[in-house]
Symmetry: C2
């Protein structure tokens, strides 16, 4: 529009010059004035907030970070402003990923990398974030448009690609390795990868990349019937990887891989996806800013408001080669790491006097019972906590040659293997 208006000004100027009679100049001057006013109107557009150099804790209405910096004053977070140093990669910008991206953007994360190959459709409007007028845009473009308006301080990188293709996977890998944002960072250029995809193949691709790069990541998922979901922390070599065992799902859910079956439309709800995104980003903040306990696995059964937790150790017979490499490395460094943690804890226990979190307590409120809920112990694959089931028989069973299986189970295993191959093809 601005270009059009400038051309109009030029046209009016030449018209004026071509008219010898000065009595005709007045209406043209008036027109020029109108065009100039329209130009300034068009330029102003929607008000965008300017970038903020330093995060301030000042309590004024115009400070977008006052309520976040207050986390420091409350003793929850040691140094909130560190959030600007972190890079988070979000794979899948759908019902969970888009909300996770918005939450991190509003928290003032340093840098966000977004990956998706899909376009926004009206059929996505039953989940948060995307708006009807963005229909037809790629999800990455629409997300960058919205997020940069919300917080211009965040560096946004968007990748419109499918990570399950060879080329997409290569670009994904090199984007994770790029360290130009913080050249002195150890490991990759990313602090955490969040998997917010809706299918098994994409999760396996994220798993492969993170195992190869020794990159900690969090996985998330929502069931096909929209009423349950989960998040999971994966540290290569230290916890189970996505290939170590069949994925755990909350008991009320059904097999997520049916989601992509022909003619079948999965249900979804903004509530379940919002809760899963919230739990995912809350654990991301706890992990990055070092407060609270990061959950190794947290399920959400919305029909019963039940939240099962557990831990999963890596499988020494995992089919993923990179996982086995990371397991070997972890076992080598574990004794030294455990000793260092123990020494640090002992030093802290002896030097810091026990002080309450909140110094002023004018209401004389005392916490009656704040013992930690029964901690989830690492369990073997056969003993799952209440409310959790495996999506498939354990990975081990797929490894066994059919001859080892008893007569009665061969058909079932063969059948499952064929179905799995069909899904992966």
């Amino acid at each position: 529009m601005e270009v059009e208006l400038k051309e109009m000004l030029n046209d009016l100027e030449s018209l004026k010059r071509s008219l010898a009679d000065p009595s005709h100049h007045a209406p043209i001057d008036k027109l020029q004035f109108r065009v100039e006013r329209l130009t300034s109107l068009a330029k102003s557009g929607p008000v965008r907030r300017s970038k903020v150099k330093d995060m301030s804790a000042e309590v004024v209405d115009s400070n977008p970070y006052s309520r976040l910096m207050a986390l420091q004053r409350m003793g929850i977070v040691g140094n909130y402003e560190r959030i600007r140093d972190f890079s988070v990669a979000i794979v899948g910008v759908g019902g969970v990923g888009s909300v996770a991206a918005e939450m991190l953007t509003r928290c003032g994360i340093g840098r966000l990398l977004l990956y998706d190959y899909d376009k926004v459709e009206l059929a996505n409007m039953n989940r948060l974030f995307f708006r009807p007028e963005q229909s037809g845009m790629t999800k990455t473009d629409a997300a960058v448009q919205t997020l940069s308006d919300i917080n211009p301080d965040v560096i946004l990188e968007s990748y419109t690609l499918n990570i399950t293709t060879v080329q997409g996977f290569d670009t994904f890998m090199s984007s994770l390795k790029n360290k130009s944002f913080r050249p002195n960072k150890e490991g990759t250029g990313i602090d955490l990868v969040l998997s917010c995809v809706d299918n098994y193949e994409a999760r396996m691709a994220v798993n492969q990349a993170c195992n190869e790069l020794n990159q900690t990541w969090m996985e998330s998922g929502v069931s096909e019937d929209a009423v349950s979901g989960h998040i999971q922390l994966l540290i290569p070599g230290e916890t189970a990887c996505f290939a170590c065992a069949p994925p755990l799902v909350v008991a009320s859910g059904v097999d997520e891989r049916t989601l992509k079956r022909e003619g079948v439309c999965a249900a979804s709800l903004p509530t379940t996806m919002g809760v899963v995104a919230g739990l995912l980003v809350q654990n991301t903040l706890k992990y990055l800013l070092n407060f609270g306990n990061v959950s190794p696995y947290l399920g959400y059964n919305s029909l019963k408001d039940f939240f099962p937790t557990m831990e999963m150790k890596p499988n020494p017979q995992c089919s993923n080669f990179a996982c086995l490499e990371r397991q070997k490395e972890y076992l080598l460094v574990k004794p030294a790491r455990d000793a260092a943690i123990k020494a640090k804890m002992e030093a802290e226990a002896s030097s810091v006097p026990e002080s309450p979190l909140h110094l002023d307590n004018e209401w004389e409120i005392s916490v009656v019972d704040d013992t930690e809920p029964e901690s989830a112990e690492a369990k073997t694959s056969d003993a799952l906590p209440e409310g959790l089931v495996r999506e498939l028989p354990s990975a081990d069973e797929f490894q066994k040659p059919p001859t080892e299986a008893t007569e009665g189970t061969i058909d079932d295993l063969e059948d499952l293997r064929k179905q799995l191959e069909a899904l992966n093809s």
Copy 2:
């Protein structure tokens, strides 16, 4: 801008007529063409989706309800389209209320009533929903702007008022009583009230209105340190009302009424508020559409990912007169109601054969352990479940005249009473 452009067209037309020499007409025609093109550009604006008459389950990209109607096919909800009959009132359009409103709007709720007196500020940008360019607008106006773009099918009513003032409370009451949306509905014109306010006085106002109108409502809250929250279902006469007992908060939180202390800025996070809004609206959907179990009380301790639950019975010595009236009514109808429920359950158990939720099970997945987690029993005020504390000593203690208290406790109680009075003034 459209008015400006129309005036320009008129000016160009009169200029053309004033020029006798036709050789001057061509440049003016060109200018007129430019202005017309700009007019159509300005008119197009952002694309809004048109209203949808009936909710369709058709699986096409252009259907905004396909993923919601799929809940029916999956056997989760009996009749999803009933959602269009319901009216929900949201009191407080802040970090929780705005997200709750967006979720219900995207779910296609029939009618939403929004109440808030506050304006959008940049300091709100660390929570979801509001955008920087809405700074200075009232929260109700900004919400209506965003929500009507997202889903034009929802009837939105906004009330820019403070429900703790006499006039505001009167308008609040009459808006809840208005039955023009569904004249044959029993009781009030509202199916559920959601309290998403950030202070004690406003909660007490919602409590008063709902007790007087015998209106079921849900309360929500987030702690001042931003890391815990809760939701609670309140059915007048049947469950504890907000005045029956001091409010329950999740143990890691601090007294929420310190929130409004001078010079103190509460912390807030989009994650905690998003989770609380998600849990609140999920329970709203379960309540309205009759699926799953509606939680009587659900806490969220984000540092430990711990979710305490409990039930609270009404206090026969409650200080709220309307609550006592509702309790009396409930006790009168309870025997008949219990008998009807029992008869219905027995009839269902004998007539409906036990059938699995999902008829096809090609993966032969069986649910290993899906027993309901230990159900929260109604407890007395002294026995709270793990992780929950009361905000204040029980209401009973406030009722006792000081003479009944022992010498040593008079000062404490008097002190508390004074502080409470100061807060309420």
